[in-house]
């Protein structure tokens, strides 16, 4: 497996893991306040930030090959 492909597979794995982490059973009945918000809400706000960071990595390291040339071709 090439290094580029390994990175791509790792990022797809991270995507699947982040999808699984959406199921926050551990905070389901937890009323604590964290960072000024109920922890169940703070977790999902942080989740949005994590999603953005993962997307940035996907864009930088796993951008679909050939799109630019395919699309920009006359």
């Amino acid at each position: 497996m090439t290094a580029g492909r390994a990175v791509r597979v790792a990022l797809y794995g991270a995507l699947a893991a982040l999808y699984a982490l959406h199921q926050d059973a551990w905070f389901r009945h937890d009323p604590r306040i964290v960072l000024g918000l109920p922890v169940g809400l703070a977790y999902h706000v942080a989740y949005c930030v994590a999603a953005s960071l993962l997307m940035a990595l996907l864009v930088k390291l796993a951008w679909p090959a050939g799109l630019e040339t395919d699309g920009d071709a006359p």
Partner: protein, 485 residues
């Protein structure tokens, strides 16, 4: 003052749309896709503004008032991951194919990829049928909200009429360029206004911490997801944002991108945009109990408006009204343009002119269809019962369940016309069946298990496209060479 702010806002939107007309190049591709020149920022704002509706401001705060913070996980953070992932995996590839082959609509893509006129026609009917309730909800919701915000000064039918007229003016004049520019302005308006409203109201409530403590003391159940959103519902609801992969209006915006690089910003920034819009709505919805603790039934959806009426001056009410209009119009404009595009390209041009329609004829047909669809939508909104609002989730579910047809078309060479037909018919049958048993119950889940109907429809759609493809003849080599490299 409220009315003055609303009129000023509508004037700005109209001006932006009309100015865009000066850049119009007179071709069908320019009218429907801005000659594929949309850059990263406008693409982000267009996609996000088109996707977000007034529900993100009013419905979300109402749900948070009713069930607590769980609504953010259910509807917002799931979209924050799923939507950009769909743009990344599906949108970029469809853009590339669309540009390479000069495609203008998603029906053209499916018709060519699956080598079937009939499938294209079937998809046209299904896609348009699913967007109709979405259009009506926008016009009716916007009109009703304006009535509430102006204290009855603007009747619902007048609000709906004004909104429809403004959208008609800038979409018919500016096409997709006008729509994209107006969307950019409107999306910025409702994003900024959410933050401003949150800051102002938190100040009036004595700060976030003390207000949350008071609500938590009276309603501890609102501070947790608890039983309001059971695990199976949370899990199956994550499939609903997949609908962006099949929305005709989102597809149209994808095709308008200047290059593949234009997608990078939308993919990265989408989750943050969702957070910016939904956090204020959900927090203020929960904190609504601090001011009004007795809202019941449909009244909970007006909790944000009531908070502003109670705590804020006229001008903020006007700005909130502008925010709601922005959310409604930025979806409505793209939806009608997409439908106008589909009628022009997929029906009139394909069947009436055998794909030989002139540029000016395309533009004229597009404008007539946009005007006609808007007029029809407005007239229907006057006689449609308000229970249509419950159709939104059904509309989204239908689109999401059709996504396997697109995924198979893009990623699976062996997928065939028969597989696509099987999936579309399966989804249509299941959708009608689920709607007939659960359409009147907003809390309906399959057999009371917590599983949303979309999960069953989505899995059945995958099974249908796989089985249907494997038992039928593979696509021709010419088609494979055209769509796979």
């Amino acid at each position: 003052m409220t009315l003055a702010v609303l009129v000023a806002y509508l004037g700005c939107v109209l001006a932006i749309g009309l100015v865009s007309h000066r850049f119009f190049r007179g071709t069908g591709e320019d009218y429907f896709l801005a000659t594929r020149t949309i850059g990263p920022f406008v693409l982000l704002m267009s996609l996000f503004g088109t996707h977000m509706t007034a529900f993100s401001l009013l419905g979300a705060s109402g749900e948070a008032y009713r069930t607590g913070i769980g609504v953010f996980a259910l509807m917002a953070s799931s979209s924050a991951l799923v939507v950009p992932a769909v743009i990344f995996f599906v949108g970029t590839r469809l853009w590339a194919v669309g540009k390479r082959h000069g495609l203008l609509t998603q029906v053209q893509y499916f018709r060519a990829r699956y080598e079937s006129d009939g499938l294209g026609l079937l998809l046209f009917v299904v896609l348009v049928a699913l967007v109709v309730p979405y259009l009506l909800i926008g016009v009716m919701g916007g009109g009703l909200t304006l009535t509430q915000i102006t204290g009855g000064q603007v009747p619902g039918w007048v609000g709906g009429l004004v909104m429809t007229a403004v959208v008609m003016a800038y979409v018919t004049a500016g096409g997709l360029r006008g729509t994209a520019w107006a969307n950019t302005f409107q999306t910025l308006v409702f994003m900024v206004l959410g933050a401003v409203t949150l800051a102002y109201l938190l100040d009036r409530l004595g700060g976030l911490g003390p207000a949350l403590e008071r609500v938590a003391a009276a309603h501890p159940e609102l501070m947790v997801r608890g039983d309001a959103v059971p695990p199976l519902k949370l899990l199956s609801y994550t499939l609903i944002p997949l609908s962006v992969g099949m929305f005709p209006h989102i597809f149209m915006h994808w095709l308008s991108a200047r290059g593949a690089a234009s997608f990078r910003l939308p993919v990265v920034a989408y989750p943050v945009c969702i957070m910016i819009v939904w956090v204020p709505s959900v927090v203020l919805g929960v904190l609504g109990h601090d001011t009004f603790d007795d809202l019941r039934g449909p009244a909970v959806n007006s909790v944000l408006i009531r908070l502003i009426e109670h705590h804020a001056p006229d001008v903020l009410a006007g700005l909130l009204g502008a925010g709601v209009l922005a959310a409604v119009m930025s979806s409505l404009d793209s939806q009608v343009l997409a439908i106008g595009n589909m009628f022009t390209q997929d029906v009139v041009r394909h069947y009436g002119f055998h794909d030989q329609m002139g540029e000016r004829q395309q533009v004229l047909a597009g404008r007539l269809f946009v005007g006609g669809v808007l007029l029809l939508t407005y007239l229907l909104s006057l006689v449609t019962p308000t229970r249509i609002f419950s159709l939104a989730v059904w509309s989204f579910s239908g689109y999401a369940a059709l996504l396997p047809v697109a995924l198979a078309a893009i990623f699976w060479r062996r997928s065939t016309r028969a597989g696509a037909y099987a999936a579309v018919v399966t989804v249509a049958v299941l959708w009608i069946w689920f709607f007939s048993v659960g359409g009147d119950d907003p809390a309906y889940t399959v057999g009371g298990t917590g599983v949303m109907p979309v999960a069953v429809m989505f899995l059945a759609s995958i099974a249908a496209v796989v089985v249907g493809s494997l038992v039928s003849r593979p696509p021709s080599e010419a088609t494979l060479a055209r769509f796979f490299r």
